[in-house]
Amino acid sequence: MRSCRLAALLLALPAIVVAQRATTPAQQRPNIVLMFADNLGWGEVGSYGSVRGVPTPNIDRIGAEGIRLTNFNVEFSCTVSRAALMTGRYAIRSGAAQPTGITLWETTIPEALKPLGYATALFGKWHLGGFEWEGRRAPTDQGFDEWYGIPLTSNEAQVTTSPGYDSTKTPPPYIWEGKAGGPSRKVQVFDLESRRTIDREAAKRSVAFMQRNVAERKPFFLYYPLTQIHFPTLTHPDFAGKTGAGDIGDAMADVDYNVGLVLDALKRLGVERNTLVLWCTDNGAEARRPWRGSSGPWTGFYNSMMEGGIRTPCVIRWPGHIPAGQVSNQMVHEVDFFPTIAAAVGADIVPKDRAIDGVNQLPFLEKKQATSNRESALFYSNTQIRAVKWKDWKFHYLFVAEPGVPPGPPSMRLFNLRSDPKEETDIKDFNPWAIGVMDKIVADFMETTKKYPNVPANAPDPYKPPPI
């Protein structure tokens, strides 16, 4: 009798497995946690040198348990970087600009993941909807099921305390929240006090979001774009004045603590091994005094094409897939995240009706190949090509060491970043071969814009691309 039951069970087993796959295919896909700090330079992170001596054990742990990239590249400023991250396209293609954001025609990572059954959320800073975002270009209009945070950027926190501020003429900025299908609503005024706590609140909401979806066995895409350490770099009361390393040091302790909240939740919820965690920063170090950040070994700050503006820390972890303890100087760009996440979730979700600049870096991250799938990157300022990186070489079409500082001759400069990481000695005159190689990379990019014209910066919705 017992053996009959066992036989029946064995016979039924394939059907049970098939049934389970059919009913719960979504749970088999990995969760994605993307944490994106703001104006946080290379020199602030422990595993990248921590010039202020403030430990960042949680951020470091991601890299130690996965890979720490030392040649990770981003766009040079907030909005364009977020556009590139979300779309897998250089921002020049999407026409991303602070006043207008990006069109709804752009396909974002959460938009691509939703049809696979992913729950999607943003808690933190959006900055892709433009000034007139409300009801038009909110995160919930771009693939997020829910959001909490600021639609624009952190320095708005200073508005209400600006000398001569008149609330009857200029409404105060707010922290908002919203769910897809409904309007966003104001949570509280975004001022110097709420600026200190917004990242903590966003981390708590992140944890609650993960808990909810783990309970529902639903895969999730959590986008946690922290507002630190963008100016004004004013920190949570738990850390203000605690590190002895100034506002930025305190903010780094806060950033790392909040990252720890997310990591601890993943462990507590038992989904650590099935979650791809990416932590990086949007652009180089904050430059505005008194919150002058550190670019570590690099020269320059955000809003410049110097390495200090476009090379940022990046750590990635996916237990069982990305071998632990890797450190790599292979070139990776933030536009690669979209195709890489697509590969990680095992779905062909990268749009094919437009130019995509990102490449799938998963085989490299998984150590299935020694080199990354990228050997060059373009750096635009608005519509102007400013620099190209190719292998170890970097060619500036217009050398500007810091925004606002007029470019001095020679305007074009070539550096080998291995032998001259600070970009100090122009060697283009002794390497005449380089210009042709760099020009070809730019020309190849421009060729793609013939088939897929760039979206104009002020394009309204609905945007319709010209016929191919």
């Binding site: 090509i385 292998k391 079409y397 470019p407 001759p409 020679p410 071969w433 042709g436 190689v437 760099m438």
Partner: protein, 180 residues
Amino acid sequence: MRHHTTVSSALLVILLAAGASGQARPDFSGRWTIAPPPGAPAGRGASGGGRAGDMGSGWGSTITLTQSASALTLEWAYYSTSDLQPPLVFVYPLDGTERTHTLMMGRGLEKQVSRTTWDGAKLVISTSQDFPNIVAGKTITSVVTRTLMLESPTSLVVETNRSAVLGGQASTTRTVYTKQ
């Protein structure tokens, strides 16, 4: 009469040759510096794939040329005074013979092999240089051709053509130096 015609023709050829020679052998001597175009601040106006900058001649913004009957000597202060390095000096024979210059720019000794030709009033300096391991295991040869011409006694134009390598593009830049 026929003899007279022949002599006249020969004389004409000589005179024309002398004239051509006089035109073809301008003296580039002087201290020259790049003058930025008036009212054109760098970094404005370029868009799309447009470039904002300028590659220059490959010789820096200030050069000193000394020309004799047999050679053109280029002196170029690449290093700053505090570097305690002398200016770079390149001597280009004007009889078309090859000249090799060796310099150290941080990736081993580099050899530049140059040869000059006259093209009317223009002096063409062609320089070939090998670059090992720009791509692992490969040596690429880059050829830079500079054409020097005087627009006026105080205006020197250097057109610099850089050959295409590694599937890239050839490029030409035009640099105008003003006599100091």
